[in-house]
Symmetry: C3
Subunit: 397 residues, 3 copies
């Protein structure tokens, strides 16, 4: 695209009315138009930043982040997105705060939101918890806004839950769109979302689930590959199958990594923990059975160790389409001989794809900003137009 | 009120010259006009935000927060207030900083203040310490400004000390004013500030003290109720008595919760620690006698347990004016059967008053912003006028 | 100086083209013109702030801080500098982040920099590490920018490394320039950078090294004094000697504190750890030999204790030029009888110089802002001019 007007025209052809004052939980709760609106706004915001046009649409306001798990990239992506739009990030650190002290979600959600325009939450540790917690927060602030407690309803952005990792999957998808020169070129492309061995244990399921839940919507042939016992949520597999049918693509499963890589256009090899084990872990945690958790973790590590052959090797890469499949990862990857003895990917493969991998990550701040933008403005296209007319430089000139 | 001009007219009828370049330590150090100016600016800032008029009066500048105690609501209230005016919050975390490393208050206060317009401090843990510390900080930066070290004198906002909790009490009062339709309607109203049982121990005295020190200034009949042995600072009781005399109200004390609730228009049942015990605790802490502190805490918990009947029950509420007294709390409350087995208030009472309770809290960011605003501008009314003329939207439109 | 034009004229007489898109690692990697440009911009930014002219040149953008060591003043100086220019500080807390989790520097540097205009790093703990790490970061983001991953190349500001502490030394120098009424008055002045006893162990070498590496460039007679065994990096001594030759000053060394103080115009008495010991410590740390580190620390404390006579006493001060040498310190100082039993300086000396000491520190935020400013604008003088024409007030008026 060459001008902002191109993005605006594209937006004007889409229906995303429902996103105004909405939230972003799961990609499969959004229509195709709505997802395309996110991609379009993300590209438009990037275009404007590259052309030194400020996209600061808030004179004041807070973007609240709540991370129940360590995070560098997601933390900085959220901070960057908020800052790009003019919101100041305030981290709700439950160590510092009184959430730990028996305060209800409903109360805390309102207490922190008096001047909050956005709440970003990462809560991916326990099955059945993270997404539910996010809904509790949204219900609380929606009610608070109705009751006249909050002058605005903060928008929730799911920064990773137990079910989906929408900002990751959307950034990954936007990367694919750019690499392949447009959504229209994805039909019939083969994408392999495969498990890979990592010495670390219990990586979230939300990445593979997010990928199969989203990538199946663009007419691609999506293959989910993992050793027996590493199943993901059945509900999400059902979503993927349904998406594939609608989009004219396919969704298949295999326990054979080589089969998944064969002639693949895109490969996404990554470790995750078995759904069943995560459920058990959640139950043990609920019962405060930490001895049981230790025991479970040892079992899982042993189980993982039986699948060290699940690695993205040069040999496997050579079996992909022209030996040149696009290698993807949410990062950080466990690189054999670099970050661990045996890991998800060969060092030479990772190095060859380093630049595309970093570009893949670079879309996330814009995806988050776009999700916020679409929730805050009834006519985002009009806002982009006015911002261009105003043309306040991001960096003084 | 309907227009900003109404607030401006009200301000122009008040004398608050002394607040310019001043600080906010204790409500009873301020004149009635000064307090009314805070309420008026708070309402005006809220009015402007509701009408999407930016009140960003700082292009740059820091708002420094120093919390010696955990805090969600106060932390976010301060952050919201600073952000609303254009100041960026920097938290002086004494863990991270070198304060812990034997640096003097005077030095630290200057070192962090080169570009600080506001310093908000919460230091309520030890009798005779918090307020004194805040004065040390203010004396240091005032001298630093005189000596040409600091280009501006940061304003101190007391976010809770050992004596008063002015941002809480003022927010509570503004809530009362709105609930009763104006200060003029408060004369003769009965307010019961009563102790209530909580399983937790050692809650600060600054809330009840802040309430009796402020609420006695509006012609109300303020009753302080607590079991024997739960006295608050005598000095603050003296302030309350004196206020009541001047305002044409009353200030009485009782050891009978029922008597306090009888026909009350407003009830504020909340746990706190006995003054004498807090003094002893401070002394033990000073001597590093942690064994002694443990012992004291056990004694206090035992003492508390003798007063589980001090609870805000439906039965007690039914004895209030028309059974409909305004129930207040600074939150979080210890709710019987919710956050604890036996607590300060019945769940059904708390639930019925949830919305007003949250609204009560919603005033705090505006109260803090108003305190800053009044300290920074010689003619705040004029500034409001100009902001309205400029009418920069808070959210782009 | 009276008008902004004076600063602009001065800038226009200097050559600092190379600073555009550059970084700031070590003062001796910069030309005299480049250093003078930093001083001039720092003074200009301060002049503008004092005259309530906003110097906010960024509408959005992040300033990332990474502190490998505790810090109050440097943390707040960096935050103040970023805020003054319109950048929001995001702290990369390696506790919170995944840096600790085996993520490579190259990857992290890119992942946090998508919208970062500045990265400030303090990493002074280990010999041969800090400065090297900073270069790794800069190489990573420079490559990332070349590869189209980063839309801008963040500027690195060295907030203290194992070799130099340029923001400290530059702030100290600007203080000297102001105290002596201009660089032109420094020729032939005697500056004594001397070791002093402190009960604490292992203070960084970067301060004395930064001082001798910078102060020798202005025609002063710089004396480095310390007990035998407290040598600093030989490479930096070589830099100092070379600077002195070029500037028409001198650089001498002595093991006699009195000799250094004799007739000195400026004294900078401060504790540091011996280079050799720091090297050994780094090696032990590398080998994870924590027992060895404990042993080494005990040895060093014992060694320090043999030199308690190395203190900035009234008696020694009386031997300086007219008994009135300018006393300097980077703060916090170990003050005899105040922060410790026996320390670097007599309480009466410290008290007499408190105001100049605090002023000395007050230059650091402006020095940091100037380093950023010079890296971000091809024609800083033009930018200052336009900011003056625009004259947006920092505080609304």
């Amino acid at each position: 695209m060459k001008t902002l007007q191109d993005y605006i025209d594209k937006l004007n052809a889409l229906n995303f009315k429902e996103m105004y004052n909405g939230d972003f939980f799961l990609t499969w709760e959004k229509t195709d138009d709505e997802l395309e609106a996110v991609f379009t706004i993300a590209d438009a915001l990037r275009f404007m930043r590259e052309n030194n046009i400020s996209t600061k649409v808030f004179e004041s306001g807070l973007g609240i982040s709540l991370f129940r798990d360590n995070s560098t990239r997601t933390r900085f992506s959220f901070a960057s997105a908020c800052n790009l739009l003019g919101l100041e990030v305030q981290d709700l650190d439950e160590g510092k705060s009184q959430v730990a002290h028996g305060e209800t979600v409903r109360e805390t959600a309102n207490m922190i939101s008096f001047m909050a325009d956005v709440i970003g939450i990462r809560d991916d540790m326990y099955i059945g918890k993270g997404n539910a917690y996010m809904h509790e927060v949204v219900d609380s602030v929606t009610q608070g806004n109705k009751d006249g407690i909050l002058e605005q309803k903060p928008t929730l952005v799911n920064l990773q839950c137990d079910i989906d990792h929408p900002t990751q999957a959307m950034a990954d998808m936007l990367h694919i769109i750019h690499e392949f020169g447009g959504v229209e070129n994805l039909k019939g492309k083969k994408l392999a979302m495969t498990w890979a061995y990592s010495p670390s244990y219990g990586k979230p399921l939300s990445v593979p689930q997010g990928i199969i839940g989203l990538m199946t919507r663009f007419g691609m042939d999506v293959v989910l590959a993992h050793p027996e016992g590493y199943e993901v949520f059945p509900e999400v597999e059902a979503v993927a199958a349904d998406n594939a049918k609608k989009s004219g693509g396919t969704f298949t499963k295999t326990n054979d990594m080589a089969e998944a890589f064969k002639d693949a256009d895109i490969v996404y090899p990554k470790s995750w923990a078995p759904f069943a084990a995560m459920e058990k872990r959640t139950e043990l945690y609920g019962n405060g059975d930490f001895e049981g958790i230790d025991k479970l973790e040892k079992e899982l590590l042993a189980q993982n160790a039986e699948h060290k052959d699940w690695a993205c090797t040069e040999e496997l890469m050579s079996t992909t389409k022209d030996g040149k499949a696009l290698y993807m990862h949410c990062l950080p990857a466990d690189i054999t001989g670099v970050s661990c003895e045996t890991g998800e990917v060969d060092a030479s493969v990772f190095d060859r794809y380093r630049t595309p991998l970093y570009k893949e990550a670079s879309f996330k701040p814009y995806i988050i900003a776009a999700m916020i933008f679409l929730a805050k403005f009834a006519d985002p296209a009009e806002v982009l137009k006015k911002l261009e007319e105003k043309s306040t430089p991001r960096v003084f000139e």
